[in-house]
Amino acid sequence: MHGNSMKTEQDFFSTMRRSLGLPVDVDRTVQDFPDLLPAADTVSQSSKTDGEAAADLLDLLQTSCAKHHLTLHIVDDREQAAALIAEMVKVAELEFHDSRHVILHDHPLLAGLRLWKRLEDEIVTIHTCAPGDPDTREKHEICCVGITAPECVVATHGTIVQQTGDGQPRATSLLPSHHIAVATMNSVVRGLEEGFRKMREMPGSSFVFISGPSKTADIEAQLVLGAHGPRHMDLILIRT
């Protein structure tokens, strides 16, 4: 920090301390107030999910996804998931580019679907994000479908928690007109608090909670899907 902005910052804090009725030149530190930012996990815990609760969670998730226009598919295995995605890719709207391109996050779950094999007879180009690829951005601009594997799925809100990681750029769930998220059943958590806790456990500082396709109600409060981000969003949940 330059000397000048250091001084500005000191002024800023001095003024604030004066307003709080504190000595102007004495820094208070977080150590003096152990209750303010407790070191322990402060996010409330909710009960563990057993077999019976899992059915409950799915009910919750069905309702919340419908509310957010997020289309939920529950499939038995990876094979079914791959078949479903292949069908979606074949009919995806070509909104920003004339040929059919699909982009996937670099993730073992997605690689295991072997979409390249499943779609080998179609005129489709499948890209997988790779760190250091200078063309990643350009590829995202022409893709009609983006596929990600979120960290967890929140049942009460129909929300996926997506982190930014190597080979998992932000644009995959944002630029393509159709976003497909693929997750396994054991990644479903009950409430948003658990989503927050998951977020805390993960490295990095860039996360997004996504609940359905992009939408706006700015014109006469009438809901329109696909304002800037994806016009469609699907969540595929694999039972095993």
Partner: protein, 477 residues
């Protein structure tokens, strides 16, 4: 930010005649306002808002610690944090960052604070295109107008007006279908978003514990503005920080519920520094500009500190009968509605916005709907008192000597019952010549003329309550 040369009184008087405006606002008040009120009927939800209010007040008491912690964590990740004492400091800093990167196009996420500090004209003077990307803000910008609602910026316009605007400015074939209008804006703005050099956003909340800021949007424009350009600048009012992740979660959900009766916004993004991966997106540089611009002054006055608990959800606009009839532009300030009637005078000058606190009715709907139960009516009264008495702290002069003198006389009279009763009798007689056939007075003269300009005066009762009480038989009292 002042948009018009006209006064609040003039603008409000004109707006009240505008039936289209009233219909447009009525729509949002009916749809969202009523939904928010219904949410508070649940005891658990009311306890939730009490909890968040307590947390907001605790945060304000420890603001120095929380901001220092937030800044340290962001800096440790390679992000920049700038503490701006004034609006000018903030704008100068943002201008400097833009110059260093030779920025030609800025894409913006919706941010009231960026309007407050007057950033647009300064960047535009540098030949930088500054483009709003929230659909409502984009429409308002195209129209050369200002937002009229905190979360629904173009709520004063209907689809026909928007269709005309798009036809005129974007050359699109006229259509009143929201689907078609949205698609047009999507295509126009996507090109701009893909080619922008810098993204500027506000900050809904910041979390000291994790050192992150959080931005909510339904459209995805804010994600675009924080993903595609190489530089991201977030502008944050200094009161916007919460201590822990639990507070973050609690406050955030209350914000989306109060703002739009949504359990969660489509996108809730968390970020706390430049992008570390080599993915080809995410900003290479991250700047957080923490703005004081008069907030520490508010923090130092126990009477008004409460207003800094505000989380800018705009719910009070969806409940206010005055806003419902005059719309946002009449307030002629950056923040409209009940929250604006308190915060605009405090940030921009109490004398300058003297009419705002007298324009509200003190009905209490704003307090009832507020997710942090801010006692706006109490603060409106405190502003009236500040104007009547003047204040050195607020650099406020007495607004009207006549009014101050009048209240002094009234105070004296009410403290002297004999004098009060005599004047009451004289008043009844003196009013008679002015009253119409229905007994109501429609026009007074001299200093009293102002009272009857916009309302009729009820006739004085023939007998006062205490006179009637005394004449009642003892057993009926």
């Amino acid at each position: 930010m002042i948009a018009s040369d006209k006064s609040y009184r003039e603008l409000a008087a004109a707006a009240i005649q505008d039936e289209q405006l009233r219909d447009n606002i009525n729509f949002i008040q009916q749809r969202i306002g009523k939904g928010t009120f219904a949410f508070w009927e649940d005891e658990g939800n009311r306890q939730w808002r009490t909890r968040v209010k307590e947390q907001r007040e605790r945060s304000l008491e420890h603001l120095d610690i929380l901001l220092a912690t937030l800044a340290e964590k962001i800096r440790n990740r390679g992000g920049n944090v700038y503490f701006a004492k004034t609006a000018d400091d903030a704008v100068a800093y943002i201008g400097k960052v833009a110059r260093e990167h030779d920025v030609k196009r800025v894409v913006k996420g919706k941010s009231m604070t960026s309007h407050e500090i007057g950033m647009h004209p300064v960047l535009e003077d540098m030949d930088t295109e500054v483009l709003e990307t929230d659909l409502g803000e984009y429409i308002v910008q195209l129209a050369g107008s200002a937002p009229s609602h905190i979360i629904a910026p173009c709520t004063h316009m209907n689809k026909e007006q928007i269709a005309d605007l798009f036809h005129e400015k974007l050359g699109m074939e006229k259509s009143v279908e929201p689907e078609v209008l949205v698609r047009e804006a999507r295509n126009v703005l996507r090109k701009k978003l893909l080619s922008a050099d810098m993204g500027i956003t506000g900050c809904n909340l910041a979390c000291a514990e994790t050192g992150q800021i959080c931005l909510v949007s339904n459209e995805g424009n804010i994600r675009m503005a924080t993903t595609l350009p190489k530089v991201h600048v977030a502008v944050m009012g200094m009161e916007r920080v919460v201590p822990t992740l639990q507070d973050f979660s609690d406050t955030l959900q209350l914000l989306t519920m109060a703002a739009a009766v949504q359990d969660i916004s489509t996108y809730v993004s968390f970020m706390g520094g430049p992008e570390k991966t080599d993915n080809g997106d995410g900003p290479e540089e991250f700047h957080l500009v923490v703005v004081d611009n008069g907030r520490s002054k508010i923090l130092g006055d126990g009477e008004f500190r409460e207003i800094l608990s505000c989380i800018r959800c705009g719910a009070c606009l969806n409940a206010c009968p005055v806003y419902g009839r005059i719309g946002g532009h009449a307030y002629n300030a950056n923040y409209p509605g009940p929250i604006g009637a308190v915060i605009s005078p405090l940030l921009e000058g109490i004398n300058r916005h003297a009419d705002l606190c007298t324009g509200e009715t003190l009905c209490g709907a704003c307090k009832d709907i507020c997710p942090v139960s801010n006692d706006i009516p109490r603060m409106l009264l405190a502003l009236r008192r500040t104007l009547a008495q003047g204040s050195e702290y607020w650099n406020t002069s007495r607004h009207s000597r006549t009014e101050g003198y009048g209240w002094g006389v009234f105070g004296y009279v009410t403290a002297h019952p004999g004098l009060y009763r005599t004047l009451l009798k004289i008043g009844r007689l003196a009013m008679k010549p002015f009253a119409g056939t229905d007994g109501w007075t429609k026009k007074l003269f001299g200093p009293a003329a102002g009272w009857t300009k916009h309302r009729d005066l009820r006739p004085m009762a023939r007998r006062s309550f205490s006179e009637r009480w005394k004449q009642r038989p003892e057993r009926d009292r």
